[in-house]
Symmetry: C2
Subunit: 374 residues, 2 copies
């Protein structure tokens, strides 16, 4: 037992580390009703997953045979705890634990590692800057379920960092990536580059339930543009829609096509909702959309680098957790307000919270099913 004082669970979607994991990853993804709701999901989910597996395998083969997201998350975690040990000796030593949603290390792995390390104080720290029920919400729900499944319901005292869409450190680091992206263009051309902010889309049904994601994405974009203080015009679009339902637009791919048709020659795409490179940046943005851009006459199509191991981003992560620990906050004011249209009684809960400051629960009619399921 290494006697870690503060454990920080870094929650993210994750991605298949090698080609053999692609199939199982997609099966779990399309089975998760917290991220996507399909008719006859038990049958249609595996069907879609299996049908997509060969194509997705080929995409991963094209970016080196697997997702780099675990490598980057671990580098981010190392940089973060190293800084935290310096910033906050009273809560040190700190350790990070990766909890991916559909590949290992999963929530169970993180919880068991924390137990082995003697952790008592734990922070559930989402790696999605903007909150959505389909990402951070799903990860948190799974974390509490995993704690129940592993018999570790009472093992840790929890607090939550559930969103940081306009955190100063994050915005500054993200703005640096835009600056680096613009530096890929000739100085004389830089002012003419269109900034195309791209975030993962969501099905409109999720939006209509009241998911806060598009509002927070809009706020992140505005803050980056203001911090950048450059003459470039910008657009926000949404990528990666899949399946038969209608998703939030405008679609990144269609925007690229139309910018090209309009005669734009220089576009810098900025992944505003991702912190690490993964298939959506390396394959979808760089390759797929890069080819689309080329075909429609955008002669200079570039992407701002992902935050990855950028020191300023590691500073931001450490600073976020440091301020959170110092505040004694259990969760932010938005956390307990379930989407108005939410039908999932598991949403917006917390297991065994620290005795800190927390806004009062909003569900004034508690769901009787909840206690039983946790």
């Amino acid at each position: 037992m290494s006697n870690i004082k503060t454990g920080i669970v870094m929650m993210n979607l994750g991605g298949p580390a090698d080609l053999d994991q692609v199939g199982p990853f997609l099966l779990e993804l399309f089975a998760d009703r917290e991220i996507i709701q399909l008719p006859f999901q038990r049958w249609l989910g595996p069907y879609i997953a299996r049908r997509r597996t060969p194509r997705v395998k080929a995409l991963y083969a094209g970016i080196g045979g697997g997702s780099p997201i675990l490598r980057y998350t671990e580098a981010q975690g190392r940089g973060m705890v190293e800084r935290l040990d310096r910033l906050s000796p009273e809560t040190a030593p700190h350790q990070f634990y990766v909890a991916f949603r559909y590949v290992r290390p999963k929530s169970e792995d993180a919880l068991r590692a924390m137990q082995a390390d003697g952790v008592r104080r734990a922070v559930a720290f989402t790696q999605y800057p903007q909150f959505s029920c389909s990402t951070t919400g799903s990860s948190l729900n799974e974390l509490w379920r995993a704690a129940s499944r592993t018999g570790l319901k009472d093992a840790f005292e929890w607090s939550i960092i559930d969103r940081w869409a306009t955190d100063d450190g994050f915005i500054e680091a993200m703005t640096d990536t835009v600056r680096d992206g613009l530096a890929q263009f000739q100085p004389a051309d830089r002012g003419r580059v269109v900034l195309l902010f791209s975030a993962h889309s969501l099905p409109l049904d999720v939006i209509d339930r009241g998911d806060p994601y598009p509002q927070e994405i809009g706020a992140s974009v505005q803050r980056v543009v203001e911090r950048l203080s450059a003459p470039n015009p910008y657009i926000l679009a949404y990528q990666s829609d899949v399946g038969p339902v209608r998703w939030l637009g405008p679609s990144t791919e269609r925007v690229i096509r139309r910018l090209g048709a309009r005669g734009e020659k220089r576009v810098l795409v900025v992944p505003i909702a991702f912190t690490s490179d993964h298939i959506e940046t390396l394959s979808e943005l760089d390759r797929e959309y890069g080819e689309v851009a080329h075909r429609v006459g955008i002669t200079q199509f570039r992407r701002a680098p992902a935050l990855n191991e950028r020191p300023r981003f590691l500073d931001a992560l450490a600073d976020l957790v440091h301020r959170h620990l110092r505040s004694g906050e259990v969760y932010g004011t938005q956390y307990l307000l379930r989407c108005p249209g939410c039908a999932n009684p598991q949403c917006r809960n917390i297991l065994n919270p620290i005795s800190g400051s927390a806004p009062e629960p909003r569900s004034t009619r508690p769901d009787p099913a909840l206690g039983a399921r946790l």
Copy 2:
């Protein structure tokens, strides 16, 4: 001729001043393809307008027989130019001219009044804080067309203030309205109030073309919440969808129903995209949604007051124009970037601009129809 040095055209939708204007107002509204596109619009537009007229008349009868938007806009204009004359003697005297879209005073009225006053330097100043092609875009296009129709194409030198979603003065004044709204609740209850920001919705087809409105609304909401620095949770929703197409959600009305069903008792609705009271605040929010809230058990449903004649808002308007005049800016960096899916060659143009600083035009393939139509 009163020798006004700077004319400021305050552009807004407008509303019928009395019940007789309701029919003509709706006819013009549903005929405007820049705000709503219907199949067989020449036939279906008047049909929908006529069918809705009695109901809308009744709504206006319920709020005193007409829209107060002209009265408020004139009060805002007076407050603004009075302040501008003090702030900026070098561009004084200033005068404001109201240009509504579907009732008088229209663009023609504003232009003729400016000519009579001897104006040469003119600012087209949208009264919609967040840009949408269906509001500010439509107003600007109509302004240029009206200048052409009235033979005043070369009469003025123009610059444009096309959006101010996160302007400090606007955000501060809007935050004051939220504080005033919260003051309507008992001090002990204030922290429990859910803030429901509500903006006018848009058809999804407009969103999918790349309209910047939802991004800017999201940014406004975030800035107000941050400035407010209160423990209240908040949601953004969209109101006033009409007709057979799908609109951007979540719907304000449905959110209210669901908050009630969830057991919420206290809701403060905040109109984030309107600057004056009009039918959507006085009737839709206060009456219609107020009744809905009552029925679903929200015992305290209140609305933050509109900005109207609030001195801090008049300060903000004057400050915005003052900074604009001082900057020598023709328009902001976003103005000339047409929505990627835009099919309207009139969009994002300017007539006879001042010789100031302006980002270069983005439409590198100019539309040959444009010159002829302007």
